[in-house]
């Protein structure tokens, strides 16, 4: 097991290097740079200033020199300076990561909290009213675009009913660190979180339901029943253990989506996070930030996949890798 994790971690290094190279080159291929668009509407800017800023940030160097400089610092943990935000990228990201992770974790937890029970119910009592209702919800959630649904939630629960605030991550009037502060944070989290979670349940419910239906008919389940194992135990001990496998494997991939997956939610609910920063950095040609975020989500993908493999081998002895 340790050997396996070690091997996977070692493979990660060239993977990330390659990723960074591709991203860097692609980013540089975009027409214009951080200075081009930002300066054009500004009557106070002069061409000389633009040139001196390009010089200052090394934007005039050939791409391999820029890449060399960047990677040299990156391995030391310095991701460079953001051109538009005028602060170190690491500093900038730190502020946003917390929000994105909080939001994504909330979404993830709620998703599982909803999806697993629903999947089990639908799988166990197939073709009942409950099952049909769940399946309908499932198709509905699959078909609804997130931004439409999020707006609907916002409209209903914030503007009509007034239960939750319409945007932001916390009320600025409340003193940081107090109990009320955390309550306010949670209140701001519910609406974007629920909007995301209610639509994210599709995969899990569908997988779980199908797998349970499938497993129900397997010989070992029949055997268990024939032995006189009570129905409840048949499900918890025999069927679920098998059916949860693909869900557990999925967890790793879900982590992947945590980083940049909430762009729409962040935009609609004015929730400052990585997703928005990512879009902003691309339109503004803020290369250092773009590269840094791609690197982070790239790392998350690689780690997520590894996590999936580890979970799988931990719970399923059959596919343990030696």
């Amino acid at each position: 097991m340790i050997k396996f994790i070690l091997r996977r971690t070692l493979i990660m290094i060239p993977q990330l290097l390659l990723l960074s190279l591709i991203i860097f080159v692609l980013a540089k291929q975009m027409p214009g740079d951080a200075v081009t668009g930002a300066f054009m509407g500004n009557p106070n800017a002069t061409p000389e200033q633009m040139e001196s800023i390009r010089e200052h940030y090394g934007l005039n160097d050939p791409w391999y020199v820029q890449y060399g400089n960047w990677i040299g610092k990156a391995v030391k943990g310095d991701l460079g300076q953001s051109y538009t935000h005028k602060q170190p990228v690491t500093h900038l990201l730190a502020g946003r990561v917390a929000n994105t992770v909080t939001l994504s974790l909330f979404v993830l937890i709620v998703t599982y909290a909803i999806a697993i029970p629903l999947g089990i119910i639908a799988g166990r009592w197939t073709d009942t009213w409950a099952d049909k209702l769940i399946v309908t919800y499932n198709y509905f959630s699959f078909a609804t675009p997130l931004f439409v649904f999020a707006l609907l939630m916002l409209f209903l629960f914030s503007f009509v009913l007034g239960w939750f605030p319409s945007g932001g991550s916390v009320d600025v009037r409340i003193e940081t660190g107090t109990w009320a502060y955390y309550v306010s944070k949670l209140k701001h989290l519910v609406l974007p979180g629920m909007s995301g979670a209610l639509l994210a349940t599709f995969g899990t419910i569908q997988y779980l339901r199908n797998d349970i239906i499938d497993t129900k008919l397997k010989d070992f389940v029949k055997t268990a029943r024939a032995k006189g194992v009570p129905e409840g135990k048949v499900y918890t001990r025999h069927i679920l253990r098998n059916s949860m496998l693909p869900i557990a494997a999925f967890l790793g991939y879900e982590v992947t989506g945590l980083i940049a997956g909430s762009i729409f939610l962040e935009m609609i609910f004015s929730y400052p996070g990585l997703g928005q920063l990512f879009i902003q950095s691309i339109t503004g040609r803020d290369f250092t930030v773009t590269t840094a975020i791609v690197m982070i989500s790239g790392t998350a993908v690689i780690v997520g996949t590894m996590l999936s493999d580890i979970i799988l081998s931990a719970i399923d002895p059959r596919i343990r890798i030696e």
Binding site: G32, G41, P43, K86, L151, F159, G167, V172, S270
Partner: protein
Amino acid sequence: MKKRSFLLLASLMLVLSVFLAACSGNDNASGDGKDKGKDKDTDNGTTEKGDDDNKAELDFPLAVSNDKEAMEDGEMTVALVADEPFEGTLSTVFYSVQYDAEIMEYFDEALLDVDGDYLITNEGAATYELSEDNKTLKLKIKDNVNWSDGEPVKTSDLLYSYQLLGHPDYVGDRYGFMIENIEGMPAYHEGKTKEISGIKIIDEKNMEFKFTEATPSILSGFWSNATPRHHVGDVMTGEVTMKDLESSDKIRVNPIGFGPYKVDKIVPGESILFSRNDDYWRGKPALKSIVQKVVSSATIVESMKNGDVDLATIPADQYLTVKDVDTLELLAKVDLSYTYIGFKQGKWDAKKKENITDPNAKMASKELRQAMWYAMDNATIGEKLYHGLRFPGTTLIIPVFESFHNKEIEGRPYDPEKAKELLEEAGFKDTDGDGIREDQNGEKLVINFASMSGGETAEPIAKAYMQNWADVGLKVELVDGRLHDINAFYDMVENDDPKIDIYQGAWGTGSDPDPSGTYGRTDSFNMTRWTSEKNDELLKQGTSEKAFDLEYRKKVYDEWQEYMFEEVPAIPTVYRYKLKGVNKRVVNYDIDPASETRLYEVGVSE
């Protein structure tokens, strides 16, 4: 009620789909004044304008009508309408995005106030006096002006701004002509000296500036924003480095100023809490606190309707949804910007640092350019796509500069017949009978048009213009067959990509009417590359010492506008209005720069 709610929801969704479409780029106009490309479609306008006369008739008021007393200790919520977090570089020296300026407005102000023409006055926290030869400016800071931490605002704080702006390590866009025009500034900027010889500190409250060149731009562009040296740390003594300063918490987390309010708390990227600055030099501010927060363009109208937000800039495309909300009042004024069509007529010579006009350029015919203007139906575009909130431009100096905008010129209203006539006369005839005009030599004429993507109106506008031109027999095609995002667009236009013959751009004018930065011979931002000796002459006269005489300056600019109207290196297509939505409970709010009402008087009535 139900039905109405649904309608609201539907409009919300519509708006959202628009902003999703727009999220890939900025508005086709890349911003105004100091705010650059960051503003989306936040420009706006008045409802109606006279039919054929191209002058704007403001139907919106400039000030709120609520004349009740402001309540004691009220709180007001101000929205920053944005689909992204604000950056939060809260320093006049370092900031780069308009949103940050909108925040700073509440806790910081320039030492010198300005009037309706954006010229400096003696009504602010400091007074000035200009010497006979207009080369020396004496500045005196009033006695009761203190930073919000209690320290007095000193002359050394204003000097500090200049020391930062001119610093060899300064990375930003504010080291412009007005800073460089201080005597000794270039030497300091190159790192040759540690002192700026042209700035003399007499005592804590009195100082003197010496200029290299006497120009009326001093009156509109003089920098008077101080930087609290004691608070942010001194770069000159090595207490802090330039790089650390621009990312410092003293600027981003707990900035101070001497404005009517002080920053209590900032939630990075989303909101700011201000409280009253009891020590404000003009008097006691009316509100106890102000909450300023980012509200997405998709929800701003709803937020204003239900009273979550008292004050906001309303995006142009949502005008129809706010028009009839009875809790709101709409104010509007002409924005400091305009959209234009530029005709490429040459190249920038980077070695000589000047524009070289090519007399044989495809767009070199003056009549062709004039005809293209006549062929454009800007009134309809303003009417249909902006609900009448944008209106046809007439000259290259916008009407905001009341004293300098030439009202005699009425632009070239839509007149396709006249366009055809002009083209015929100039020899652009359809010689092979395919309905498309050939050039004077009988060669096929295809004009390549570059335009920016972003916003839901970019594509229809480009298509409408192309149709307009096709109607008079001119074949105009989009460069690469599509629109380009702002960076790609300016990359091509600035570097004189031979693919481009004409392009649609926008300029923020800043507060100085002097247009030489965008039409001068030695300025690379003159992207049409059109030059002429008469133009050089007029632009020079406009900023000469003689031009301190307003009458003279007006005469020069009148003549310049007439000349540009005749030559048409660029067509001013539309002027815009900026629309503010204000809750009816707000009192003493006025967006007229000429108004006597100041920000500290703004209050709420209930």
